[in-house]
């Protein structure tokens, strides 16, 4: 804020292969969330570039970034960020409205996405009527709706108890494998990250500290 500039992410050079499951770790303020925002096209770097499938997000217009988020990225948030007034079905359908998916196809894709996350029922319920784990499943289904190649998860287990958190991560890993989807997950729980991610990336003070490939 003000005139002094803080570099939240500074001089990080990193490449992630297609289909990889990567975890970003670090303490609060380490820059892991900022890095995720950059990958999601929600933030733009002041310098440098973010290349996704050969396209530089740093050079895209806000319209192009919206289209990128819509078609190529699925986002899962710690706080789920479901729209409370909409039913489960409507929440999952929403990104497809923006993507102008045909109506008849939409219904089918909603069902498909919800089945993938294990929520074949309760389609007419509102998010507040579901448990935390179920809400996170809905948000994963929503992220899958437009069949993205990149899934970005920000502390997806942060609001869940450990059992449910594990279930969610199992689900994300399975999806990554079965759909060939790249997953970048921010977390501060090293134990969980080690169990599910292929590669751990440690950040501190906006810089890349170390990387670890799990067994």
């Amino acid at each position: 804020m003000g005139d002094s500039m803080i570099r939240a992410v500074d001089g990080i050079s990193l490449s992630i292969a297609a289909g990889e499951f990567v975890a970003l770790l670090g303490q609060s303020g380490s820059g892991k969330s900022t890095l995720l925002n950059l990958l999601a096209g929600l933030d733009r770097p002041t310098s440098g570039s973010v290349l996704v499938q050969g396209r530089d997000l740093a050079k895209m217009s806000s319209e192009e970034l919206a289209r990128y988020r819509r078609n190529d990225v699925g986002m899962v948030f710690q706080a789920f960020h479901l729209i409370p007034a909409m039913t489960i079905t409507e929440n999952v359908e929403l990104p497809m409205r923006f993507a102008e998916v045909d109506r008849t196809e939409r219904a089918q894709r909603v069902r498909e996405a919800l089945e993938r996350v294990g929520l074949g029922k309760r389609l007419g319920h509102r998010p507040s009527e579901l448990s935390g784990g179920e809400q996170q499943r809905v948000s994963i289904a929503r992220a899958l709706a437009n069949r993205p190649s990149l899934l970005l998860a920000d502390e997806p287990t942060g609001n869940l108890d450990s059992r449910t958190g594990e279930d969610i991560l199992n689900l994300i890993r399975d999806l990554s494998v079965s759909l060939g989807m790249t997953v970048v997950m921010v977390t501060h729980e090293r134990a969980l990250a080690e169990r599910f991610a292929k590669r751990l990336i440690f950040l501190g003070d906006g810089k890349l500290i170390s990387q670890e490939v799990t067994a």
């Binding site: 990104p95 409205r97 923006f98 929503r142």
Partner: protein, 460 residues
């Protein structure tokens, strides 16, 4: 985002806060209703006036007056004439000249004098006017009881229903076919100054009118009577009561009034000016209404002042443009207030739905999508407000019609609708309501579009 998705999302968002959006929509509808009620009142009044004018049967008529007479219909033109006293007089010669103009079928004076009808030993006072034979075609005579004049100088009379009731309250209709006596003032020219005899020159009953020459320096009015046969009774004044000759209760064939050489008010003026008998007003009937302006120009070139219904509709149209403008401005005031309500409602909605908008943007909504969504919400409120407003305006208008109807009937006048809702106004009002709402949505929508997408929260 596709249109139906926009509409669906907009409507579901509106339904989220039913009371607030409902009140705003009602606000719009009140605005639309007042606009619709005002404008259709203007339309109704205009139609009423135009109908009156059309009923006056004046579309093929040019009224001619002398510029010597002070009151004119066209002030601008009057001011150009510096010397009205030198303007030509509306005398028999100029009347003959007009008769010879192309497309002119009839040139008749507008005769209106005081008279008395003696019937059953009682005298009844009334204005006597002369009607040309062409008046037969006027719609006032559609419901004529009895017959029209048999010829243009027959000793016959047609009475206005009111007057007939005065003569015979029990059975006014029985008057048809009866003889009545007309008492009137005859114009008798006095000899020119310098005529030694000094005797009043008694004009011959059979003398044709207009033979008086410039040496007619005065006249006397002599009481005369004439037997007339009542041939018909008419319910309403001919020409919609809009012409001099229709503001009378006793109608004679126009040539008879001239033959009787009735003393007119304008004779006094002619006498003072020192020229012979002249006409106050001549009505020139034109074969084809399309030729009216041509005939009018020709008569103007003769140095006379003219007036036709073309002039009347021109000034009428100008009047109604101004009236509509005023009604529109007053009607719009409520809508302007409603616009503020829309802005207020939507700005509130933007604030409340910050997070929701942020989520939408994060999962792929573009700035344009968000903007369009708020526009759609504004537009939907405008649409529903417009429809509700039309219904409300319709009810107000009906109430105005019923109200004026009762008022008119209480004053013994036929009830006529003063409020007419034309179909174009329905469409225009809804379109206008949507347009205004969209304009109101401009600021909230751009404000919503500028919101940041939800970021992966650092710490919420």
């Amino acid at each position: 985002m596709k249109g139906y998705d926009l509409f669906e999302l907009a409507v579901r968002n509106l339904r989220q806060s039913k009371l607030r959006n409902g009140l705003t929509t009602v606000g719009i509808s009140v605005g639309v209703a007042s606009l619709v009620a005002m404008l259709s009142l203007g339309v109704g009044l205009q139609q009423l006036a135009t109908k009156r004018l059309a009923g006056s049967g004046m579309f093929d008529t040019v009224f001619v007056t002398s510029k010597q007479d002070s009151r004119g219909f066209d002030r601008e033109e009057d001011q150009k004439d510096q010397h009205p006293e030198k303007a030509p007089v509306l005398d028999e010669a100029s009347r003959q000249q007009m008769t010879r103009l192309q497309y002119v079928t009839e040139v008749e004076p507008e005769v209106r004098v005081m008279g008395q009808i003696v019937y059953g030993g009682q005298t009844h006072f009334g204005f006597v006017t002369g009607l040309p034979m062409s008046a037969r075609e006027n719609e006032a005579f559609d419901n004529l009881q009895g017959k029209f004049f048999s010829s243009s100088d027959a000793d016959e009379v047609i009475l206005l229903d009111d007057f007939a009731k005065e003569l015979n309250p029990q059975n006014p209709k029985s008057l048809v076919g009866q003889e009545v006596t007309l008492r009137y003032g005859e114009h008798q020219s006095l000899p020119a100054e310098g005529d030694a005899s000094g005797r009043p020159q008694v004009s011959d009953q059979n003398e044709s009118p207009g033979t008086n020459t410039g040496d007619d320096y005065g006249f006397s009015v002599v009481r005369k009577t004439q037997q007339l046969k009542v041939v018909g009774i008419v319910d309403e004044e001919p020409y919609g009561g809009m012409r001099t000759v229709s503001r009378g209760r006793i109608f004679l064939p126009v040539d008879l009034t001239e033959k009787l050489n009735m003393a007119e008010f304008s004779d006094m003026r002619s006498s003072l000016r020192g020229h012979g008998k002249s006409y106050a007003t001549l009505t020139v009937r034109v074969k084809d209404p399309a030729k009216v302006s041509q005939v009018q120009d020709a008569i103007k070139n003769m140095g006379f002042r003219t007036f036709s219904v073309l002039d009347a509709t021109k000034s009428l149209r100008r009047f109604f443009t101004v009236l509509d403008l005023f009604l529109g401005i007053f009607g719009s005031l409520a809508l302007a207030v409603a616009t503020l309500a829309i802005i207020n409602t939507l700005v509130m909605a933007v604030l409340e739905r910050r997070r929701e908008i942020g989520v939408m943007k994060a999962i792929g909504a573009s700035d344009g999508d968000v903007k369009k969504l708020f526009f759609a919400e504004a537009g939907a409120m405008g649409f529903f407000g417009g429809i509700l407003g039309i219904a409300l305006g319709f009810a107000i208008g009906k109430a105005i019609n019923i109200g004026t109807g009762i008022y008119l009937r209480n004053h013994q006048l036929p009830a006529e609708p003063v409020w007419i809702l034309p179909s174009w106004l329905i469409g225009a009002a809804i379109a206008f309501s949507i347009l205004v709402s969209l304009l109101a949505g401009l600021y909230p929508a751009s404000r919503a579009a500028r919101l940041d997408p939800v970021q992966t929260p650092k710490y919420e």
